[in-house]
Amino acid sequence: MNTTVENGVGAYLERMRAALSDLPPGEVADVLEDVAPHLAEVAAELGGAPTVQALAQRCGEPEAYAAELRAAAGYPEPSASASASTGRGGAVAARVAVWSAAAAAAVFLVLPSVMVATRGHYTDVRLLATLVVLLLVGVALVSAPFLSRTSPGVPEAARLFEVRLALGWVADLKGRSRRVTSYLASLQPAWWLVRAMVVGLLAAWIAPSANQVLTAVVVSAVVLVPSLWLGQRSRTDRRWLWLVVPANAFAAGLCLTLASIGSDIATPSRQAGTVSVPQGLWNGGRHVENLYVFDRDGKPLTDVYVYDHEGRPVDLVSRSCDFTHPGEKGNQYPRPMARFGSDGKCREVEGTPFSVAIPKSKPSSSAKPSTSATPEQSASGAPSSAPATTSAPSATSAPATTAGR
């Protein structure tokens, strides 16, 4: 018997244990002792390595199984202590909790598209962030009293008419195309990874940072841990769904938005002959935001006017603090760069953020001038602070200068 069998059977038993968690632990252990050999037999019939989903298709969902067993054994209804006195109130609390979570999920699903649509309006992003926090706090306030009273199976919610309807619909779907649904179910751990990565990408997009790739990787790695934990945990303790479902909706919305942005970039423009899309200048597949020109001695030139091979002025789409009008800055370079200081305010910083060493021997050869970029100190530090110099021994490092205008 390999570990997968143990895992599928184990996870099924774990969910039953969760559904029966209001009973005395010894009684639950006795019940599971009866069910375990049964599941082992079913597992053997299913070819030895069934998933929880495969077991559920044969025996029903663990929660339903537990409910049937509970009825036959004459155990008290779950949360009888809590909802017997409140009675109807239990169902109302459950309904409010379910619908608030569903509403939050719906908002989170469309939120990323809204964020992209308002990109550039930094204040709007903050407003959205405030709304998100308010929404989360609202759901928590509405659901927490109910969730703290209920058991891990959340039986009050499972008994609601609309929840039974939805679960029935899902079960119906599963029954119709088992191969597809079990394949999708097997992808679940991959989704736990994807949603962490998506959050990392979002962080890189929002946070004003020098190294966006690093930000994305670090945030993804940090988010991955709770993502995996929640994924495992919510399988047995359904109360976590109040956090997992809205979070998943948000991640799914982000994925959809990313996909639509990706297809926009990938799709060549239909009017390629007349309008050049994407706009601006691209170097090695990356968007050029600014141009820095140096003379033969590595001295940075300022107030340089740049034209292309047809004599057209080169106008780049630059980041600037005036978000509503990107571009349209003429063809004078280098331009001041927009930077966010530690206080979150946008400043336009002039000067050259790096220095170059122009090789003396072969000025026009393939040898590339080495560059060394500095982190974005220029935003908060003094504009005249000297950046890191190059490693070339012969180089005369050119300090960043502030173009006086």
Partner: protein, 106 residues
């Protein structure tokens, strides 16, 4: 007619009867019931019934390690269980006779 509705009333008796001849673990009891012709009996219902009869003091249980898979918890009838089985059997026979007469007359 829905057999599962009928089963609800007589599952206790059926489980006790199945355990009269020989002790059995949960899955074993389920198999014997199905083999006896109660194909529609639900596994969860049987395990629930076993627990209820056990808690009512009609059954005793002991654990036997299994070579492959989880260990098995066997249930056996104790003296109280046998008494209850005899009573229930009497009640059932009277009930079944009455029902048979009714159905025959129809």
């Amino acid at each position: 007619m829905d057999t599962s509705q009928l089963l609800k009333g007589v599952l206790d008796l059926a489980v006790l009867a199945v355990l009269r001849a020989e002790d059995g673990y949960g899955y074993d009891v389920l198999r014997r019931l199905r083999k006896a012709g109660l194909a529609e009996v639900g596994d969860a219902s049987v395990y629930g019934t076993l627990r209820r009869l056990y808690r009512a003091g009609l059954l005793t249980s002991y654990v036997v390690p299994s070579e492959e898979g989880p260990h098995r918890k066997y249930y056996s009838l104790n003296a109280t269980g046998r008494e209850r089985l005899a009573e229930a059997a009497t009640t059932w026979r009277a009930f079944a006779t009455a029902m048979n007469d009714l159905v025959e007359a129809a």
